[in-house]
């Protein structure tokens, strides 16, 4: 989810996104004059349509953090947070954000971000969010409204859960926004915004699913983070997003027609040699270098879970204007990290089949327990259920200290070579068998154990 598009080739959709984001930040920088209210909130389970219905401007601290990392500023921010007492062990998004605030709160466009008038604590799928806004509350001394999204512990959304959500939205979030803006809630407006959301959502799903083609016209992980950007942040429910996704979809179709692969910062992908699923968020400090490791090997990511953190639209969810608050509640509860581990596994296994993937690569980030705790089990179960190989790498989101390029490259290479070895297994094993029996001339010094 980034705003910076560093690809060598610039397609119209890229420019369009860039402009949308630039405009958003311009607006943020003008709140002094426009007196528009600013609400900080999180990406997973965000209530963008509701915020827009009140004409407030959302700011997403995670996005600021990842952009700081892409601009190589995260190191200093994290250092500052650690200086004021934050532990090395905790989520670096939080530290990056706190550090950024302490060092002047300069946003990605170089302008100072406005302070929040309200913190909308959409506590969805991640415990750290709660601590994060408790910290920000201390920093800004501003009101917080809690929206507790119950977790799908049993893999389902129960009526009690939905009722809890709807009541929180109706009785707490909406009154807080009314109080903040002095406007009363306009349900019709919300419905209209949600109608637009659903349209853009259709196109976005089509884009993500275009990866089912061979070769895939998109990279659903590295490229994917750009594609989900507008949908997951401040633009869902806007005409801009509708246009953007329509354009993006056209471009995908063109590439499919031309038999072209994804566009990467290194240019158009070479021949697609591997089709992978990736689980876990990317590393942002070495984003381009990381992507290049895939690009160089002809590895294309055809499906990823990270592109579902802000909603699992590909599983069929659409914002539903006929039932706006229930629909918002369902949306929040359906986000990827709000699903339990068996559900996450089912999703990945389904992807393996639907996207004819060669295997699953997990990028386990140190920061994020929400994602990472249990990933080793996902890996094992994935292998067991699909018979496809899994690979595992460890990095971090925005802390460059935890990105060891040599190590990551080694593991990716080993993983891909393993896939190749598996593919070519049949032919080669014959001559190997002949060689092997001879090589056993190496003496065995120890052979114990079972009879």
């Amino acid at each position: 989810m980034s705003t910076e598009q560093s690809a060598a080739v610039k397609e119209p959709s890229m420019l369009q996104q860039k402009e949308m984001i630039a405009e958003h930040f311009r607006e943020l920088s003008r709140t002094g004059e426009t007196k528009k209210k600013v609400v900080y909130t999180f990406v997973p389970g965000n209530l963008t349509e509701l915020l827009l219905a009140f004409d407030v401007l959302p700011v997403h601290p995670e996005i600021n953090a990842l952009q700081s990392a892409m601009r190589q500023k995260a190191g200093a921010y994290i250092g500052e947070a650690e200086r004021i007492g934050h532990s090395e062990d905790v989520c670096t998004y939080v530290k990056c954000d706190i550090g950024m605030k302490r060092l002047g709160n300069v946003g990605p466009t170089g302008e100072v971000l406005p302070k929040p008038d309200l913190l909308l604590l959409s506590y969805t799928g991640c415990f750290t969010f709660m601590k994060w806004f408790e910290l920000l509350r201390q920093e800004y001394d501003c009101p917080v409204v809690m929206l507790h999204t119950p977790y799908q512990g049993d893999g389902e959304i129960t009526p009690t859960m939905t009722q809890y959500m709807v009541e929180q939205i109706r009785q707490q979030v909406i009154p807080a926004l009314e109080k903040l803006t002095g406007k009363s809630f306009d349900e019709e407006r919300l419905r209209e915004l949600m109608r637009l959301s659903a349209r853009a959502e259709d196109d976005m799903v089509a884009v993500l699913e275009s990866a089912k083609h061979k070769p895939s016209p998109i990279d659903a992980y590295f490229g994917g983070v750009y594609y989900i950007g507008p949908m997951f942040t401040a633009f869902r429910g806007t005409q801009g997003a509708v246009d953007y996704y329509a354009q993006l979809r056209r471009e995908c179709n063109q590439r499919i027609a031309a038999g072209e692969g994804p566009i990467t910062p290194e240019g158009t992908s070479p021949k697609e040699r591997f089709r992978l699923i990736v689980e876990g968020p990317p590393n942002w400090t070495h984003f381009r270098e990381f992507w290049k490791m895939f690009h160089d090997e002809g590895a294309v990511v055809v499906a990823s879970t990270y592109t579902k953190v802000g909603g699992t639209y590909d599983l069929g969810f659409r914002h539903d204007p006929t039932n706006p608050l229930e629909s918002l509640a369902q949306y929040c509860m359906g986000c990827y990290t709000n699903r339990n581990l068996p559900q996450r596994l089912d999703m990945i296994v389904k992807y393996a089949d639907e996207y004819s993937a060669d295997g699953l690569l997990i990028n386990s980030v140190k920061s994020c327990n929400s994602f990472s705790a249990g990933q080793l089990m996902l890996l094992r179960e994935f292998e067991r259920r699909t018979g496809k190989p899994g690979g595992f790498i460890e990095t971090d989101l925005v802390d460059a200290r935890y990105f060891s390029a040599a190590n990551v490259k080694n593991r990716i290479e080993s993983y891909l070579q393993m896939i190749v070895q598996k593919r070519t297994a049949g032919a080669a094993s014959v001559d190997l068998a002949a060689a092997a029996s001879l090589v056993r001339s190496l003496p065995v010094i120890n052979q114990g154990g079972a009879a």
Binding site: V90, F127, M130, M146, L341, L376, M377
Partner: protein
Amino acid sequence: MDSVDQYVARADALYHDVSYRSVAEWKTRTGKKAAGHLPVYAPREIIDAAGMLPVAMHGAGDQVEIIRGDAYFQSYICQLPRSTIELAMSGRLDDIDAFLFPSTCDVIRNLSGMWKMLFPKKFVRYLDLPQNFDRKVAGRFWAGELRHLYADLCALNGTTPSDDALRLSLARFSANRRAVASLMALRASEPWRAPAAEAYLIIRAGDVMPVEEHTAFIEGYLAAAQGADRPMRDYTRVVVTGAFCEQPPLELIRTLERAGCYLVWDDFTVGARFLEGDVSLAGDPIEALAQAFLNQSVKNACVYEPDGKKGEWLVNTVRDTRADGVVFAAPSFCDPALLEQPMLVTALERAGIPHTSFKYAENLGQFQVIREQAGTFSDGLRLWSNA
């Protein structure tokens, strides 16, 4: 009356019983089932009222070698879930029939999903404690969840749900909390009478003892400890916080005291005293328990603090226990505890209360560094006091 040593020996044996043999014995004796729960807070009253033995699972300390557990967790995840899995994979949790995973943090949350996949035959429930503290909205949600849990546990155990059973349990646990509070009060007033590690073991015994038995056990220990002849030392008085989930090794608790710190308050096993005071016996017992959580729970990093007065509670604890300073002891990689710390530090500094911090793991074996830090902290308070 038993001697202090006898109480401690019994508690120590239970602490070291990582195979939960005492639970198996209880089950044989009663023919009922046992429900385990992870830290921090779980509504143990509900388990008890369903006729099951509530078992608080606090990892395996330094008592088992972690082999299979490491297979499930990366190096940057705390120790507790590994040792819990290790216990399960080595059959030591076979006697536990139901597992409850409270919403303490994402690690425990995800562990619930892993449990579903690993042990499909066991009863597994994730408990989403309300983080919204609105009495009405959250009260309805939480009472609903509790009711659902109660019905399911009763069905599992073959008992009939009843308000009377619930009320009886509420009363038993209130009594237990009063006993625990007396022990804590003794630690705060005359810490040399009940050394920290000892008091810890006595409270931990409640992890596996039926609640009424544990209440009597604490009372017995208190009577014995009050009579024991133990010298008072020139130690610093500290509050320890951060250790509410993964538990510090016993040796660490001893190290702190040996380095010159009396632990006059701590949040070890704080789950056992998460609610403060008695739960009302009037009206619907489930409602009462739900409201008690919303209105009577302690402040802890694993729950959201709606009133925005972060740290005030800790400052008051320091004042109430006449402590000289605060030791932050948190498990490595524990997000709730570690993210909370800077906010608490801010409050302490505002109140002029000295503090120090370090991290540990439940299976830590070397204490030099911690001893140095705690020692320097107490040296500072000791050498610079005017006594």
